[in-house]
Assembly symmetry: C2
Homo-oligomer: 500 residues x 2
Amino acid sequence: MDLEQARKELIALQDQMSAYDHAMGLLSYDGETTAPAGTAANRGHSMGILSEIMYKLSTGKETVELLEFLDAHKEELNQKEQRMVYLLLKDIRFMQKIPMDEYVAYQKFVVECEDVWHNAKVNNDFASYRPYLEKMVDYCVRFAHYAAPDKDPYDYWLNEYEPGINKETCEAFFSTLRERLVPLIHKVAQKPQVSDSCIKGDFDDARQEALAYWLMDLIGLDRDHVGLSTTEHPFTTSLGSHLDERITTHYYPEDLSYSMFSVVHEGGHALYDTGSDDNLAYTVLDGGVSMGIHESQSRFYENILGRSKGFAKFVFPKLQELFPEEMKPYTWEDFYKAINRVQPSLVRTEADEVTYTLHVMIRFELEKRLFAGELKVADLPREWNRLYKEYLGIDVPDDKRGVLQDSHWSFGAFGYFPSYALGSAYGAQFLAKMKETVDVDAALAKGDFSAINAWNKEHIWHYGSLLTPAEILQNTLGAPFDPAYYLDYLEAKCKDVYGL
Amino acid sequence: MDLEQARKELIALQDQMSAYDHAMGLLSYDGETTAPAGTAANRGHSMGILSEIMYKLSTGKETVELLEFLDAHKEELNQKEQRMVYLLLKDIRFMQKIPMDEYVAYQKFVVECEDVWHNAKVNNDFASYRPYLEKMVDYCVRFAHYAAPDKDPYDYWLNEYEPGINKETCEAFFSTLRERLVPLIHKVAQKPQVSDSCIKGDFDDARQEALAYWLMDLIGLDRDHVGLSTTEHPFTTSLGSHLDERITTHYYPEDLSYSMFSVVHEGGHALYDTGSDDNLAYTVLDGGVSMGIHESQSRFYENILGRSKGFAKFVFPKLQELFPEEMKPYTWEDFYKAINRVQPSLVRTEADEVTYTLHVMIRFELEKRLFAGELKVADLPREWNRLYKEYLGIDVPDDKRGVLQDSHWSFGAFGYFPSYALGSAYGAQFLAKMKETVDVDAALAKGDFSAINAWNKEHIWHYGSLLTPAEILQNTLGAPFDPAYYLDYLEAKCKDVYGL
């Protein structure tokens, strides 16, 4: 094989893969946003066939020979090519270990399982979802065993979502957080509660949608390349390349803040993805590198910026303009307090910043025990409810707002949740670093995200997946990751809002 | 090769093709409905790659050998298999004649061309579209030459959309129509015009959408398998199989009837497609057989049923419920007259039933001359405007409402328009036949489409593409196609509305 030819084939291979990713990503996005209720089987049929073809493309003899040839010549490759070969071989080595029949069956099963979860949530019917979730846990344990027979299966998946982490590092991280968060929540509970009445009411979809688009523009999303749709459980997806990104939201008439902050959260994901260098498009280096770094961006925009004093002050006049009657009794300070109210609650995606991590810890505990065989799926609702009582002191009234609330398990994303907490903590340390050169408060006060976005683009976004998460943290922070930044940040926020 | 094995491979081949059709159909549907404005290039990239793969799959050595083997054993195949082999070989023999590079480049070009058309229409800017349209005409002439070197290229495309027709049969058909339609339009013009004020006003999207869903239910669409989205130029598409059908509409605040009748029109297409026998799914026999038969169904629901007296009377109370203020001054008779007002107009999709065919004739004339090299694309706007003056007696104020109004040419659909007129005429003859066994007027008066739909399903829908258009017409009508039914129908309608 000739090296120049092999380099061209490396690009052509990724071109093909990106087209299949586009097609399959769009099938899934359509299912979550637009498709009629009875079309899941049809989608599963197509998804099964396309993923079989994708499997053959990615793990076929020609591809493996090409990548092993390039890997053998890696000193002659540039940094991008080296990383492409590394990432592609990593996936192939995973896929090679999974029997094709199982892989294809799994792809079809995911479509079905997401659909069953969706209906189970709507109907508050865990029983109908149980056999699917059991099968999903089995798949994920089995696939982890195939991929890394000597590794603990849960460690395997944790590392997939955030390279470098495992149960032990997560336990240490969560225990550091717990030490200061539990007393912080206690202190807040002893103070008079702040009111959130200004974000509660009856807010129509049309004006919430207008607000969503305004927020997209405000935080600097390019709407020529980032679309907004509605769905049950908001998510973000890249279709084919970072040049076509979709975010989603859900409008609840009774709560103005849900859609607002989901748009800013998903918008953070979309800023990260669409910030990839354009020359990474149609390669495996396009878009964000890991879930932890991804969540560091989404939760940075949602919370660190989105729930800041400066942002609240800047956004409030827009709320007054869109909802003049509803906002009449309130000031921007009321809005600021409302969106920073600390209150143990049922639903992770609606949780405040301080109690949020406890929701993640509960999922981490349950996943760990499910994967160790110490907990059965049948007992999940009971254990879920018990841990919510223990960690957050609240009773779960139904599975809809309990164990059925998140979509993640329905598409096999076990080991994903800890990256939400890690990402939040990375974000606080990024903020401290950013403030050395960017006047973040002044930028928020003006509603001008350009300097903030430029800093993130320079240090994080433009690399796409070229650097590892550890390299991004090291290059950007110039110091080890330290959760103390996050805890300091949360304590300062509570001091400000509750006058601790 | 073993015949049983070959039969299985025939099914597996169509399974794969349906997955690619699903993916590419969804890419295109997404582009027309949901995708952000700047994503056409990304979509073109994926479409180019997928269509290259689809090309190789459909025309590759293995496929050709399989189908030729089956064709050689066709006496041993059942009717369905025979028809599958015939249709697949027909496509292969077409594709084999197109150089692959050109085919792939064309697929990418279509995406771009649709995008340019869309922007040109929005900006009333024919000049930006002109070079693309020139290229598109060249492609279509060239492809017709490749496919049928001895055939007139426009005849080739006419026959593609409605097997069995050519320039000569179209000219005869249009001339028969012209003989009675021109005097009919003249007679109507001498009568006092009926008012359409009850469908004009300021109707908000939300209530128009509620009406659209109500109409979908009314005509018997299964919303578990048929979705509704909004777009610039309404269309219907099947995704993967008839089990996932999408219709689209456009809400104009100033005109209530536009969306109503586009929903009923596209709904007719969707009824036809989703009425295929379920065992045709994932094969080339799934969904409607030709554009002429398709339009016979869509225009049957839109006009013959949708603009009937019975339907107007049944629907009007729903309009009163949704728009109580707007409908206060009117009766159902006003509504009936408004939706049957005959008035030469600019836009085909908004034209009344009587003048509609003249819009089609203009396109037929222009396409014929473009393909014969007698008309240049650069001169299209001028010729368009001249013919609108000559045929319809009206001045075209801008290209947006003139030559840029239809999307068809932007995706290469030359020769498609005559099937709208043919379909309308088929529909009138179907109605006469249906009335022999179904009390259509009573069904409309009750808003109960079950007997009507059952008749259409039995005679037309359930076959999918198993029968040819000629076979459907012959089997159903038991007589040759005769445009006199259509002319009788239109004259009766004008007599009723204008008291001729």
